[in-house]
């Protein structure tokens, strides 16, 4: 194993662990905004009850997202110094913009959001929540923008000013709006909303199965299920398909690896399940003829470029890419099925509340959506290899030359131990929170007395408090 492999393993490990959390906070954030709007509109105390319960879980998820996110930002410098020097002009500015516009917004309002339940009225609490979720969404925009530049780089030129070749920005607009950016950000946001809503579905279904907090659990499902179902359908029909078209157009070798397509052919098949052997250049399995041609070009007989068009040493690991991609695709289709089935049982005389098998499926949905999100990112990142910046900079030319094998072994071991411990504790605390369940409804007079406009917040001399425990 080379040092390059170790650097890649460490990055894959830390970024995968990190990305468990952001989609949950994006999606759960959306649900919290819906709760907040309902609370402002109806003044029904159950919405505040739900917000109070979910905001605590949000806080737990969010803090782990921040802690593991700092690791990512530092790792470009520590592990990928040649990459950082090469792309600093471009990639660095997008990360810094993320800091100024996104993190500061999140960090600033997070305290208000987490502590808002006993300190803010409905409207101001909703405002704080909206600010945090907007910050988180901006963050996704900037980071996907930076990552999309690595996939389809443009708006730069390469010059050597004494420290080897470096990329220099020629057009900020082109750097921001690379051809893959819009399709990818839509895909990522939709995936995050599906993942976040599946967490709410999962907890709601669990309560129904255990016959606890039944009315609140039904409300959770009533809010989360439409979000889940609508975006699951749109993900497959619009956003995912849209991205496949983009990949086919801009990165044909990547699409070919995802589908295990070696020869350029018209009427190319799409596999549902299968096995690909890059040595024999052969893919076998269950497939639908011509579907790949149709999806990527809107025509049955248009040719789809195979891997033969790419020199062999520029191929990614085709077997791995093929498998992780198909896990994602199949899960995506499963979510459509789950979403539509659940909606069907809901519309059909509200039978969903008694379908125990279906409720168990919903309980498991959050694990499945997380797996789909992660395999999706693996597909995107593995299939870009051996390039770190597509057809511009190779991964083997990007890692820090001054970091030794032993040092990376040490840091990988450190992250493995740390992340395992943190994850176990996280799951146990989450489990405990869920088992404790939502708090009793807040006294509506008390809610009324909380400051609910900027003026009230700043005029009031001391904070309102509900007393210590």
């Amino acid at each position: 194993m080379s040092v390059e492999d170790l650097h890649r393993i460490q990055f894959a490990l830390t970024v995968t662990f990190h990305f468990i959390f952001p989609p949950l906070s994006l999606g759960l954030g959306l649900i919290l905004i819906i709760f907040g709007v309902k609370s402002v509109r109806t003044k029904d105390p159950k919405w505040r009850q739900l917000s109070t319960f979910w905001v605590k879980i949000y806080g737990l998820i969010f803090s782990l997202g921040i802690a593991t996110g700092i690791v990512q930002e530092f790792e470009f410098g520590t592990n990928w110094s040649r990459y950082s020097r090469f792309v600093g002009n471009i990639f660095g500015s997008l990360l810094a913009a993320e800091g100024i516009f996104a993190f500061m917004l999140e960090g600033g309002f997070l305290g208000l959001m987490l502590f808002g339940g006993t300190r803010l009225g409905n409207r101001m609490w909703l405002f704080a929540t909206t600010m945090v979720v907007t910050g988180a969404t901006f963050s996704a925009f900037w980071i996907v923008m930076a990552n999309s530049w690595m996939q389809t780089p443009q708006g730069f030129e390469i010059r050597d000013v004494g420290r080897g070749p470096q990329a220099f920005m020629t057009s900020f607009y082109d750097v921001v709006f690379t051809p893959s950016f819009i399709p990818r950000i839509l895909h990522v946001i939709a995936a995050s909303w599906i993942t976040g809503s599946s967490l709410v579905l999962s907890v709601g279904a669990y309560y129904l199965l255990k016959k606890r907090h039944v009315e609140l659990a039904k409300t959770m499902i009533r809010v989360a299920l439409p979000v889940f179902a609508v975006f699951a359908v749109m993900q497959v029909a619009v956003f995912g398909a849209n991205q496949a078209t983009q990949v086919a157009r801009d990165q044909p070798a990547k699409l070919a690896a995802m589908e295990g397509l070696y020869q350029t052919e018209s009427c190319a098949p799409m596999f549902l399940l299968g096995w690909t052997n890059p040595d024999e250049e052969k893919t076998t399995g269950v497939h639908i003829p011509c579907l790949l041609s149709l999806l990527t070009t809107n025509s049955f007989d248009a040719p789809v470029t195979g891997l033969e068009a790419t020199p062999r040493n520029d191929w990614p690991n085709v077997s791995v890419v093929f498998q992780v991609y198909h896990v994602m695709i199949n899960l995506g289709m499963l979510f459509v099925l789950i979403g539509l089935t659940a909606c069907g049982f809901w519309i059909w005389k509200r039978k969903i509340w008694n379908q125990r098998w279906l409720l168990w499926v919903l309980v498991s949905s959050v694990v499945l959506t997380e797996i789909a999100t992660i395999t999706g990112w693996w597909t995107a990142e593995f299939s870009r290899q051996p390039w770190i910046v597509w057809q511009v900079l190779r991964t083997e030319d990007a890692y820090s030359p001054n970091v030794t094998f032993a040092q990376v072994v040490f840091s990988i071991a450190m992250f493995v131990v740390l992340y395992i411990v943190v994850f176990i504790v996280f799951l146990r605390l989450l489990d405990r929170r869920i088992k404790e369940g939502p708090p009793p409804p807040q006294d509506s007079e008390e809610t009324e007395s909380l400051p609910d406009s900027f003026g009230e917040i700043f005029r009031r001399r001391s904070r309102v408090s509900s007393g210590g425990k």
């Binding site: 921040i66 802690a67 110094s81 600093g88 810094a96 100024i100 500061m104 960090g107 970091v403 007393g467």
Partner: protein, 339 residues
């Protein structure tokens, strides 16, 4: 050229923002076992920083991003060269975050005491590691022509850097203690109040010694102040701020003392920056390999885009940072949502 210098100043501004804001919450972590006698005290300390520590830490993230964008070569050389130290920083940052988050989630005494210790040790860890890193940046590192270096972790722990780390520990503890006077009541407050003068005097003596050491061992540093006499205002005003915070503490004007100690932190960092400028990372092998504001910065196009972003974003950042601190002003009262 003005853009590069502007970014250098902005960068020092961000670092100062981080040191001032996260400085007091790191200080609270370090003081916790000294001033807290029971679980309630510990919870009050934790909730004193509860709504703001996340936002404070974001300044470190911003610092990382700004360094990457504005001075990518420094970012790459520094972070990869201090590899193990950086990994340890990441470890303690994660441990500290989860300690704050996990601690009060369960009632068992062993659980809380475990995370209390992790919270305190990681607060020390972050302060010491960042202090040691800054010390080595001032001393210079063995950069080669490519801008690469590799420093053995144990070599980082030289006397000068350790001294700087010690001064940082005292500075943040002092800053944290003054901050806590705004958040605590009763016996806890009295205990903190009695600790402040001791911390202040120790810090003052050691910091003065460290400044003398820096000027004596580093000719270039001293020369830079001689060449740009106005920059001597930074250390002079820093001393004035310490004197001011001493007087304010004695008069019981703790909020003003907090502002004085915040000003002092920024001025001290300004003093270090003006002693080094235009060098950002000095090479001990050959001064031609020094990374400077000019040769290590991003291109002008990038700096300009970033500068526009900073002009657009920073006013909002300062506005809602101030707003959040105003909203959570006053003494800590524990309730259902507390840590």
């Amino acid at each position: 050229m003005w853009l590069q210098t502007t970014w250098f100043v902005l960068y020092i501004f961000i670092i100062s923002g981080y040191a001032i804001l996260d400085g007091f919450d790191l200080g609270v972590g370090m003081l916790s076992p000294i001033v807290a006698r029971n679980d309630r005290d510990r919870r009050i300390l934790l909730n004193a920083i509860g709504p703001v520590w996340d936002g404070n830490e974001v300044w470190l993230v911003l610092g990382g991003g700004a360094l990457f964008a504005a001075f990518p070569v420094v970012y790459a050389s520094l972070f990869s060269g201090f590899y193990l130290a950086m990994m340890l920083v990441l470890m303690v940052l994660i441990l500290r975050t989860v300690a704050i988050e996990f601690r009060s989630k369960r009632p068992e005494a062993w659980w809380r005491s475990l995370w209390d210790w992790i919270f305190t040790i990681s607060s020390y860890g972050i302060t010491i590691l960042l202090g040691v890193a800054l010390g080595n940046v001032i001393l210079g590192v063995a950069l080669d022509q490519q801008g690469n270096m590799s420093v053995d972790f144990l070599d980082l722990l030289n006397p000068y850097s350790l001294a700087l780390a010690l001064v940082s520990v005292l500075m943040f503890s002092l800053h944290g203690a003054i901050f806590l006077t705004q958040k605590t009541t009763g016996e806890l407050l009295e205990k903190i109040k009695s600790l402040i003068p001791k911390l202040l005097i120790t810090f003052f003596v050691l910091m003065t010694a460290l400044i003398a050491w820096t000027l004596l061992r580093d000719e270039q540093f001293t020369q830079n102040f001689k060449d740009r006499p106005w920059t001597a205002l930074f250390p002079i005003l820093a001393f004035a701020s310490i004197a001011a915070s001493w007087l304010l503490v004695r008069r019981g004007a703790y909020l003003s003392a907090l502002l004085a100690s915040a000003t002092m932190i920024a001025l001290l960092l300004g003093a270090i920056a003006s002693g080094m400028y235009p060098v950002m990372l000095r090479s001990t092998t050959n001064s031609a390999y020094d990374l400077t504001v000019q040769n290590a910065s991003a291109a002008n196009e990038t700096l300009m885009v970033m500068f526009v972003f900073a002009l657009m974003g920073m006013p909002f950042v300062l506005l809602y940072t101030a707003g959040v601190y105003f909203f959570f002003r006053g003494k800590v009262e524990l309730d259902d949502e507390s840590y």
